[in-house]
């Protein structure tokens, strides 16, 4: 446990997954396209979580969904629950959020959707954070480019790597 605490690890969060950890670790979502990385942070305890959201809110009953974590509403809820469980000292008021992703990599892909999926993902994520009273500190969403998101749990800084652009810090 001690070794795990002091060694800086990069924890990769795949599609439809989330991870909760503490400093000095870094949580990463690689190659976000229309998906959104949602970083929740408690800067007092240096604990945080990162969720890799694939889809807007779930419309079907939870029992019918094989992986609820891929949806904006259920994924954020599950991560918050885990964060609060692991970090007894905090409540939701100490937690802040930063988000990135929600791009539109190729135009007019899914004609059955009224809007592009990246944009809908961003809207649903923001709506969910608001309903949970979690303050959104910063975001880098939209566009037509991919993003890799690194969330440093020591500082709470989220660095976003974009091809042929300078790294953005949120």
């Amino acid at each position: 446990m001690d070794a795990e605490k002091t060694q800086n690890k990069r924890i990769l969060v795949g599609m439809g997954e989330f991870a909760v950890s503490h400093n000095p670790h870094t949580l990463s979502c690689i190659g976000l396209g229309s998906c959104i990385g949602v970083a929740l942070y408690d800067r007092i305890s240096h604990m945080g979580g990162l969720a890799h959201i694939m889809l807007p809110d779930s419309e079907e009953p939870v029992s019918k969904i094989s992986n609820p974590l891929k949806h904006a509403d259920l994924g954020i809820e599950a991560m918050l629950k885990e964060l609060l469980k692991k970090d007894n000292g905090i409540n939701t008021t100490g937690i802040t959020a930063k988000i990135a992703g929600g791009a539109h990599m190729f135009p007019t892909m899914d004609k059955s959707s009224s809007m592009d999926i990246g944009k809908r993902n961003a809207e649903c994520v923001k709506k969910k954070l608001k309903s949970l009273d979690i303050k959104l500190l910063a975001e880098d969403t939209g566009g037509t480019h991919g993003r890799t998101m690194n969330f440093d749990l020591t500082t709470g800084i989220v660095s976003i790597y974009i091809h042929q652009q300078e790294t953005i810090e949120l």
Partner: protein
Amino acid sequence: MSKEDICDMELDALKEVANIGAGNAATALSNMVNKKIDIEVPDVKYIKIESVPDLIGGIEEIAIGTYFGIEGDLKGNNLILFRESTAYRLVDMLMGSTGTNKLDEMGESAVKEVGNILTGAYLNAIADFLELKLIPTIPYLNHDMAGAMLNQILAEQSQYSDLVLVTGTNLKVESEKFKSHFIIIFDPGSMKKTIKIIRKKMGI
């Protein structure tokens, strides 16, 4: 659809269909650039959407991707991911240039044209086999992280299904292996339709 909706025999049949398509695509590209092009026997897998990025690998690498929607009797997505160096080499072959190391507008249309040829030939072959009509949309190109391009297609697909049928293969130009992925993903309804036709053809 669940795992039980497709058996090994049907997967093999789908692989065979994919192989016909891939062979046709290689021949078409070979004629276009006047060089010998080989294409590997496609790998057809029916897997969880979330595990596709691991299957493809190198998701953080910068790639050049062409995307086509598939319309007509089946609906789906086709994404071809070329490693940057592969795309530049293809541009050289097509334009008779040397040492291409970035994509200008001409280069972009050349890569789109390669995509067009590969996708058109592939779809024609499987359409003939299945006796269906398949039409690719106009191509779109992006130059970005491979994972990010794949991400959107997978996310859209995961609205309708947990599992996805992925067909992937690699191109070889004049025995030099050019890393590229040719990925076809059909929506669940189209998958069912395809399997039904294959079953009928196989007499099962």
